[in-house]
Symmetry: C2
Subunit: 346 residues, 2 copies
């Protein structure tokens, strides 16, 4: 805000204060800092610096006779320019890779990632499912149901299956549907789903005149089937209950609202979406997220890549007062490992 440059001493002080507060959870006072602070300064001097920090809005006193606590702005500065990233525990990464290797299908892999995140950090883990943009159609099957309905089975991306039900104008025999499927498979198999939609339109124009009725039906069915978007919510959550053990979260009313948000998923997804195009780990501290339910939380998120292209975001949600120095590398590594695992799986 104000162009005020912080002296090096003030920065160091802030760093120590935040670190101390993250460890203890108690407001930290000048005396404590003076004692545990390498650079020998008296409490009085420290008080002077603290007063400055408070003026700039980096720290704040719950009441006159309490120590200081970092504000959101304080955390922000701490994370952006003061943080010493902790090296990852030996074994965590290999443990990780081992577990990932056990998941055979991508769904489980993603679920496993979110569980890992929550377990290792004792907070809530989130994994936004990979975007389905570049799904390529492998095969289409149609099966007749009663009441002029048709079950459409789409096999995409080698091994994923989507089922849709469409309503037709008349009933079709199994043989007719088989024909239609053959026609469509021939036409579209192997293409990306969004291209399939284009192809269908072209086909419709190209051959409108000399097309038989069945083909026309085929195309209209396909359009119906492909226009339905997946109704999945696209977010995997794990370890929400971990949050119940934090003192900061003991307000039942707020906690309920947070859990409700978890269940709705919408807000969380929207927030994570903001990290889709970020480069590396991104952090939302308290109110920074813009979602009231997350006011007492921080979100540490990172996009993950498949084939070098960002397809999703993962991260953790926990109290603002968390061990960022540990959590950040965990999220970072997890994103990388998940990406490469997904790659191998493909």
């Amino acid at each position: 805000m104000s162009g005020t440059e912080l002296t090096e001493r003030a920065q160091l002080l802030l760093k120590n204060l935040v670190e101390h507060y993250i460890r203890d959870g108690q407001p930290v006072g000048s005396r404590t800092l003076s004692r545990e602070f390498s650079m020998g300064l008296s409490p009085a001097s420290i008080r002077n610096v603290m007063a400055d920090l408070e003026d700039i809005g980096l720290i704040h006193s719950p009441h006159t006779s309490a120590g200081r606590v970092p504000t959101v702005k304080g955390y922000r500065m701490f994370i952006d320019s003061l943080l010493t990233i902790q090296p990852l525990e030996q074994g965590l990464v290999s443990d990780w890779m081992q577990r990932l290797r056990n998941s055979e299908d991508s769904e489980r892999l993603l679920a496993s990632a979110s569980h890992q995140l929550s377990e290792v950090t004792s907070m809530a883990g989130v994994v936004m499912l990979p975007r389905r943009e570049q799904v390529s159609l492998r095969q289409v099957e149609f099966l007749p149901l009663s009441h002029n309905r048709v079950l459409v089975i789409l096999v995409v991306n080698e091994k994923e299956v989507q089922n849709r039900i469409i309503q037709t104008e008349r009933s079709y025999s199994a043989a007719e549907l088989q024909q239609i499927a053959n026609y469509l498979n021939q036409l579209c198999a192997g293409q990306e789903l969004r291209r399939v939609r284009e192809s269908l339109l072209n086909e419709l124009d190209d051959t409108r005149s000399h097309m038989n009725q069945l083909m026309a039906d085929a195309i209209s069915m396909a359009q119906q089937a492909f226009s339905q978007d997946e109704d999945e919510d696209g977010l995997l959550l794990a370890g929400q209950t971990n949050l119940m053990s934090y003192d900061e979260m003991s307000n039942m009313d707020k906690l309920r609202k947070l859990f409700d948000a978890f269940n709705r998923k919408r807000d969380i997804l929207q927030l994570l979406d903001q990290s889709l195009h970020a480069d590396g780990v991104q952090i939302f501290i308290g109110e920074e997220s813009g979602y009231e339910v997350l006011d007492d939380c921080s979100v540490v998120a990172s996009p993950y890549r498949v084939d070098g292209k960002v397809v999703g975001v993962l991260g953790v949600i926990g109290p603002t007062r968390m061990a960022y120095d540990r959590v950040i590398p965990i999220v970072d590594v997890t994103a990388q490992l998940l990406g490469s695992s997904l790659n191998q799986l493909k």
Copy 2:
């Protein structure tokens, strides 16, 4: 326990006490009961009766100078023989039916039921998914994947689709798989899944000698595919967060354990399973359930039927102190409506 018969007065007193406690949530004393009790009795007389009730273990005093609170045994007697079932609110049933009519597939229908339950009661709603015993196979499809894996698509019960991946010894061409599928469809289509398994065994015996290799492969594949059971957890929960608003649930530690149990689902499923063969609404009060996490909760559950056969259980979970007279008919009606809706949908 002791063959002690309760006098009619004692029963009435217990009834009033429990009703009052359920309304207010406060221990109720002799004075209160005397005042609000139709039969004119002085506090002193009431105290005598209460002392008796406490001796039998139906009520209990948190401390000397507090009123009385029903024990589990007290609730049990209240529910079993004293409860006056409340008539259902006008409109609730029709509202219900309307909402159910909007769900087209059974999955949504079940989810809707559990949401309904939680909303109407302000507690947690649970719906155990219908048992899949009598699923009948409609069609099988095979698709080759890489690395000698085959994607098996099972269409069952008209409109449900299950996907499985099996590992084969060699790789098969699409044409071969098509042949295998044809053979299996001819052999098994329309049969119930458990019979399919039998059929496969017979077929294997019958024709072992003059069977060609491909058929043998087909059967072994089918066995692999059908032996995998569904990995779904089979329980729909809704409105868990409702429970966070009850004073009785303000102990964060217990609450967390409860939520963890919800996530695990196993215990809840096991408990509900006990109601599968019950006739009508069944109630587990506090420790009666046998699950420690449910010590402060009651579960009101009812089986629901399709075609006259019980296929699942639904119900609500809430604090022991709940309005049983309202909740019981709600669960009851919901079970009936869900059953008939599922019937229609079939």
